[in-house]
């Protein structure tokens, strides 16, 4: 590894480069802001934004005790106890500090720009981490890689105000501190690790990754026979302080002592104590007695632990794995048991294309970096190896966990890349002397040393081949001497072989240097283009504002969501209850300020299934559910007019599946499929499908748009019947410009006590009812 250059230029360059990297990292995340406007994206961020607003407006204690009656109607939600408050507190703090210094920045802008700002910090922590592993040049590369890697940008563009935005910084920085702590063995760094771990726990559920990786590292070091006081001090400090702190977050509470996810950390903590105790005893007792004591001690501890664990898990003190976590280990679990987890796209497994899309050339430099870690294999390299293997597995199981893989890929690829550059750029005599301790070897190519040398000299010079030859010759010459001399020669030959195996020469030719460096530079350019392309094209659409190209190439902005939410905000009574599928819950609460039945915090499967039932059953059944839940409006997404494929009819199967899980008698998935097993919405749609509330709401008056003929659903490219469905328990309240959002008002009970179906028919002036009355 190259040594640090002490020149003043380097001293100036490093911070400059780091600042530039931070600027690049921040600015490459601003595409969506520049193209559209400063808005919060997606779904979850809207909840975070809403709670942050509440925090800034009402203060911390009110936020902590906030009972939100506007979500999960009629249940409500205890917000303080069910959120990771890290991100809200962070932005409120920034907001208040700025206001203290009289910068009147709106809280929305703080929220929008929080993730890009933290990405600059993440790049800096990647620099620190890599510097601990190799040197500062690799650190700079790692910072640059992590700054622009799409795998991280995907969750940290401006406006994506989500936990991951700050959590990845905390993840990398906690790992840096941990490595620093293990290296120095200082309780100070252990304490810092614990503090940042606490920050991480308060910010993201993914803290479990740290909770398991750090103990795994400690345990592996223990297995490798690398127990040291450094490890003992750093881990004990980290675990004791970190766990106590993490229990202060209400959402985490007593989990660290109960759930299986946290058991590894506790187990390793106990193991380290026992190991350290044994080491202490060893110093005071004769070895033989110590052996006996050790054996007895191990047996006793094993028995106590086994009995204790069995009792605790049977008495229910230790909870089993939670569903989301369990689905990481048993990959078939979620599909069968928890449709609500299987339905979320970010919980899907990762195809190879996603890996390449998110990491491009880093993905194949990454294993090379892991290989280099193996060559070095100090305590901190063991950590990177463990991190690489486990993060690769988790990223493969769940797309979302690409986020935890990306930092280690960048660090590891940077190590590989900078080693390549070291090898092919190094010219200084000083380094040459370091990399090849034997300068004479350069001048002594293999074929020029055929003559037999004394075996003793062979160890110093000569290549592997020559050394072996020398050894063989020495052995042949020394046939008569004693056997001990023979083995001695062999040992020396072995040493010679080992020395020559480590021997490195510089790259002799300028053209080979240039070739490799050019290739690497070109790859770097391609990587930069790729990152920009991916960020701009795929990860920078706010999803609440859609952009499409018109035929003449001009851009058309589709702003139906905000149109609909604004309509709801302005035209409904303050406590109006709006039912929709859970995807839109947070957005409705945040933008329309209405009461929602279900939202993106999918903790209550039954309630979600109830909404699914209301959507997928006939009007009569559904009306009962709607009345029971005081629903005033129903909101759906319909993409059939403009071809927006993420609409509710396409999500409908999940609603049916989730509803069937709870109400198997009311909803049957099979009834929505034609006898040929197809999911159809046109003439061939099944009776159940045509009678379902979702179908009716989606296609109500759809055919009229086409003047009675050739109504075509552009998402499913289906030709719709000329006569659309009729609604009797709902009436259309609002449909947005591009028909993307449709809002229906739930009718009140008929004032004459009639069936709503009859009264609708009566209002339409159909005389059939009257004639039937006459006949009676």
């Amino acid at each position: 590894m190259s040594t640090e250059s002490p020149s003043t230029i380097a001293k100036v360059l490093k911070p400059t480069i780091l600042i530039l990297i931070a600027i690049v990292a921040i600015s490459s995340r601003l595409f969506s802001i520049i193209r559209f406007e400063s808005v919060i994206h997606e779904f979850d961020p809207w909840f975070n934004y809403r709670t942050t607003q509440h925090l800034v407006k009402n203060g911390f204690y009110d936020f902590w005790n906030w009972f939100d009656e506007k979500s999960w109607y009629p249940l409500g939600r205890v917000v303080g106890g069910t959120v990771y408050p890290g991100i809200m507190v962070t932005s409120a703090l920034i907001h208040n500090v700025l206001h203290f210094f009289n910068f009147p920045v709106d809280i929305r802008n703080v929220c929008v720009f929080l993730a890009p700002m933290f990405s600059g910090l993440t790049a800096f922590s990647a620099y620190l981490l890599t510097k601990e592993l190799k040197d500062s040049s690799a650190g700079l590369l790692a910072a640059a890689f992590l700054g622009v890697a799409p795998g991280y940008i995907s969750r940290s563009v401006a406006g994506s105000y989500d936990n991951e935005g700050i959590a990845i910084f905390l993840l990398v920085f906690t790992f840096y501190l941990w490595i620093k702590a293990v290296k120095t063995g200082s309780a100070f760094f252990g304490l810092l690790t614990a503090l940042f771990y606490f920050y991480m726990v308060s910010a993201w559920g993914g803290y479990v990754f740290i909770t398991n990786l750090v103990p795994l590292h400690a345990f592996t070091l223990l297995l490798m026979g690398r127990f040291s006081n450094r490890l003992y001090v750093s881990y004990s400090t980290f675990y004791a302080v970190g766990t106590l702190l993490s229990m202060q977050i209400p959402f985490v509470g007593f989990q660290p002592t109960r759930t299986s996810e946290h058991m590894a950390a506790l187990g390793v903590f106990g193991l380290l104590q026992l190991y350290a105790f044994a080491e202490l005893i060893r110093g005071y007792i004769p070895p033989k007695q110590f052996q006996t004591l050790l054996k007895g001690g191990i047996a006793a501890v094993a028995i106590i632990a086994a009995v204790g664990l069995t009792i605790l898990s049977f008495s229910g003190v230790i909870a089993p794995f939670t569903g989301r976590f369990y689905s990481l280990y048993d990959t078939g679990y979620a599909k069968i048991h928890i449709p609500i987890i299987a339905s979320v796209s970010e919980h899907q497994p990762t195809a190879w294309t996603s890996f390449f899309f998110d990491l491009q050339m880093l993905i194949f430099l990454f294993p090379a970096g892991v290989y280099l870690c193996f060559k070095e294999l100090k305590d901190e390299h063991v950590f990177i190896i463990l991190y690489s293997v486990f993060a690769s597995y988790f990223a493969g199981v769940m797309v979302r966990l690409m986020l935890t893989l990306t930092p280690v890929v960048c660090v590891s690829a940077a190590i590989a890349y900078s080693t390549l550059l070291d090898t092919y750029l190094e010219t200084s005599k000083h380094v040459l002397a370091v990399t090849s301790p034997d300068a004479t070897a350069i001048a002594a190519p293999v074929d020029v040393t055929p003559e037999v040398k004394p075996a003793g000299n062979g160890a110093g010079t000569g290549s592997k081949k020559a050394a072996a030859k020398a050894a063989a010759a020495a052995a042949a010459a020394a046939k008569t001497p004693a056997k001990s001399a023979d083995t001695d020669a062999k040992a020396q030959a072995k040493a010679a072989a080992a020395a020559s195996g480590k021997k490195r020469y510089p790259i002799f030719n300028f053209d080979s240097r240039a070739l490799v460096v050019l290739q690497l530079t070109w790859f770097l350019f391609m990587f930069a283009w790729h990152c920009t392309y991916v960020t701009s094209g795929s990860y920078s659409s706010p999803s609440i504002v859609l952009a499409s190209r018109q035929q003449d190439g001009s851009q058309m902005i589709i702003d139906d969501f905000r149109e609909a939410y604004y309509w709801l905000r302005k035209n409904t009574k303050e406590d109006a209850k709006v039912m929709s599928w859970w995807d839109y819950g947070y957005q409705m609460a945040g933008m329309a300020n209405v009461t929602t039945l279900v939202d993106n915090n999918t903790w209550n499967n039954t309630h979600i299934a109830t909404v699914g039932k209301a959507m997928s059953t006939s009007e009569e059944v559904s009306y009962k559910v709607l009345r029971q839940h005081d629903v005033d409006y129903v909101l759906i997404l319909f993409g059939g007019v403009i071809g927006y494929s993420g609409d509710d009819i396409n999500k409908f199967l999940w609603m049916i599946r989730i509803a069937e899980g709870v109400y198997p008698n009311d909803v049957k998935e099979a009834n929505f499929f034609t006898p040929r097993g197809e999911y159809k919405v046109d003439h061939d749609a099944t009776k159940t499908m045509k009678e379902s509330l979702m179908y009716k709401m989606s296609y109500y008056r759809f055919a009229e748009l086409y003047g009675g003929g050739n109504a075509v659903d552009h998402v499913r490219s289906a030709r719709m019947p000329a006569e659309g469905p009729t609604l009797s328990v709902l009436e259309e309240a609002y449909t947005t410009e591009n028909w993307l959002v449709r809002i229906y008002k739930v009718k009140d009970l008929d004032i004459l006590g009639r069936d709503l179906k009859d009264s609708t028919a009566f209002d339409k002036g159909k005389v059939r009812k009257v004639s039937s009355l006459k006949r009676k």
């Binding site: 497994p349 195809a351 194949f364 510089p506 080979s512 097993g677």
Partner: protein
Amino acid sequence: MGQRRRTFFFTVALATLLTLLITSTATLFTNAQTTDDLIAKKISRLQAKAAKTKGVIELDSLAFEDVLAQPRNYSMVILFTAISPEFQCAPCKNFDPEYRLVAAGWSKIPDKSQIFFGILDFKAGQSIFQKFNMNSAPSLLYFPATDSSASSPSFDRYDFGKSGFQAEPFANWVNARSGLHIKVQRPFDFVAFALKVMGVTGALGLAHFLYSRGGKVIRSRYLWVAVSLFLIFIFISGHMWNQIRHPPYSMPSRDGRPGFIAAGFQNQFGLETQIVSILYAVLCGGAISLMSSIPRIDSPPRQRLAVIVWVAVITVMYSILLLFFRAKNPSYPYRLLF
């Protein structure tokens, strides 16, 4: 006298009427008996058949119509399959033993007259396949017990896509509909058991070997490098996706599209991921040799040659990888050589 005759006449008439009444009721009664008899006969016939073949009744078109014909007070589960080799129906073959496993559970339920398990092979019942508009096999239908004499009996279809091809979910599905408790008892798998025993002995042996060698093997860095890199390569090339989604290994090529590349960005075949992992391995190997092996070469011309070869290999492989990626994502704009 006249009075007497009249009385006699009435008596006779009454008696005749009575007889008539009795006979007619008797005929009615016998009629009812025949319906019950018919069902009982059918059931005993089916039971005999099923008992012979471990709960499964092999059907053809005629038998199919017969078992489902009215009167019927039992439910039928019927598997529409195409087991003959010329149809190349792999799922049919996979599901067949599972189906028979559930059907074998039939002989253990106390009341054997409520449900029967039938198999209709495409060869034996082509007309039925047509009648039910069946264009894929296997299909699994449940015909609940019914009294209605509608020409086409109502049925429930088992969803293989959702519930899979295992016996247990299928048994649950049948139990939920019939109210019975059919249990799946897998026969003891001696092969699997033997394999397990061998595996455990092997692992123990290996552990002993490693231990007796003073941990030399287990401490070998090369072993751990190989294991870690292998794991990383298969994970980053989408192996877990294959584990979860079970895609086909490859498909016959169609309209110029190579058969090993799956259409769609979020879709992949088994062969495809293997190719990708090999590409990654070669590229990574290239990088490793550039930084580790080449500086070990001591003759300038050989070193130059090695550098050129490896740079060429990396460039070509990376170009292939990008080409591969463009095949998955046609709008991807970057390329290296081709």
